[in-house]
């Protein structure tokens, strides 16, 4: 079945999407500030680094599919040989 295209103008989409997007950006900024206030220990730096890595994906305006790429980048790898690896005694595919 083809994609479902709603009857909406570009102006209407921009008008609808901007307020929640702005709010989420402010939430993101506040969360990063919260991490800063928690100090510079290794667990905090790890979260900062991971957040920075993922935000870089968001800033790529050359291609769509950001949600898919962000989720994929946070996923454990898939190995089509998982059955053979389990048969060999492995208990996790990483």
């Amino acid at each position: 079945m083809p994609p479902a295209t709603p009857e909406e103008s570009a102006a209407r989409v921009a008008e609808r999407e901007w307020p929640p997007l702005r709010a989420r950006i402010v939430d993101l900024a506040a969360a990063l500030d919260r991490l800063d206030r928690a100090g510079d220990a290794a667990p905090i730096r790890a979260v900062h680094d991971e957040a920075a890595r993922l935000i870089a994906i968001l800033l790529d305006n050359e291609s769509t599919g950001r949600a898919e790429r962000v989720l994929g980048s946070m996923s454990r790898p898939y190995d089509p040989r998982w059955r053979a690896r389990f048969a060999a005694g492995e208990t996790a595919i990483d």
Binding site: M1, P2, P3, A4, T5, P6, E7, E8, R16, G65, A67, E68, L71, G72, M74, S75, R76, P77, Y78, P80, W82, R83, F86, T91, A92, I93
Partner: protein
């Protein structure tokens, strides 16, 4: 708009939620067997749970004019105990002919371990031998993509289940195309933090079309919103989608999938129209 929530765990919700669902237009819901938040002590714990799913919850739902359907299995988390799982799987046929039972579910993977895969395949074998529908849980967060692809591998390698008889649930942007390309029904779960939002679900419907897509709340004992499906309806309307398109996802598709069950009886409120 009349709608169906095809995946919600009402054993963990108060009766107030049934009242809210009824006010929001829910005509029916389906409740897969799941992890209760703790590991049950043995097979008799599951026997009592299956009685709750097939006796008490339909009664509670009916008091609010909602049809209750259910699915039976041992969930992926407790499937790490293969011996217990085999006892539960052996017990399932005792309950399959009870009113409202749609099939086997929600089976699946949790941490994508060998034991979980073994128990998943044994559930699939049961469903294939008995001609049952299957509802599948895909793992959370970082485990989801790997687990979904392993699940699709196992379904393909078994080969006995018709694609129209399988719903792969909790899809997100990085897994939905794998499920749809394989020909299965795909469920989008509207659940805070770990799964989708109504907005992202609407995006997925716009990108892939409403064919073979369902949405659900998966309301359970964690922070969850049992009115998530109405939120999706509101989001789709705000974007200008036709009522027929929205109804396709929230009512027609669940009815078509449930209708594949040989025991399925349509919700009384719909039959009366």
């Amino acid at each position: 708009m009349d709608y169906i929530d095809p995946h919600i765990h009402m054993v963990s919700r108060t009766t107030d939620d049934y009242a809210t669902l009824a006010r929001m237009g829910c005509v029916a819901l389906s409740e897969p067997a799941f992890w209760a938040g703790f590991d049950r002590s043995g097979v008799e714990g599951f026997r009592d749970y299956f009685r709750q799913l097939t006796e008490f919850e339909p009664t509670r739902a009916a008091q609010h004019g909602i049809e209750h359907y259910t699915w039976l299995c041992i969930n992926a988390k407790e499937a790490e105990d293969v011996a217990l799982s085999r006892e539960v799987i052996a017990m399932i046929p005792e309950f399959l002919d009870r009113p409202g039972v749609l099939g086997i579910g929600e089976i699946g993977l949790n941490k994508n371990t060998p034991n979980e895969a073994t128990v998943f395949e044994e559930h699939v074998d049961l469903a294939a031998r008995l001609g049952e529908l299957v509802l599948i849980h895909t793992p959370h967060l970082a485990d989801k993509l790997q687990g979904t692809r392993m699940i699709l591998d196992m379904l393909r390698d078994d080969g006995r289940l018709a694609a129209e008889d399988v719903l792969v649930d909790h899809v997100e942007e990085h897994t939905v195309h794998h499920v749809l390309d394989a020909g299965y029904w795909a469920g989008i779960t509207l659940y805070p933090t770990s799964k989708c939002t109504p907005e992202r679900a609407a995006d997925i419907v716009e990108r892939y079309g409403p064919d073979r897509l369902l949405v659900n709340s998966a309301g359970d004992w964690g922070p969850s919103n049992p009115t998530a499906v109405p939120d999706f309806i509101v989001e789709m309307r705000a974007r200008g989608h036709a009522e027929a398109t929205i109804r396709r996802v929230v009512l027609d598709n669940p009815l078509r999938f449930f209708g594949r069950c040989k025991r399925f009886v349509s919700p009384k409120r719909l039959s009366a129209k």
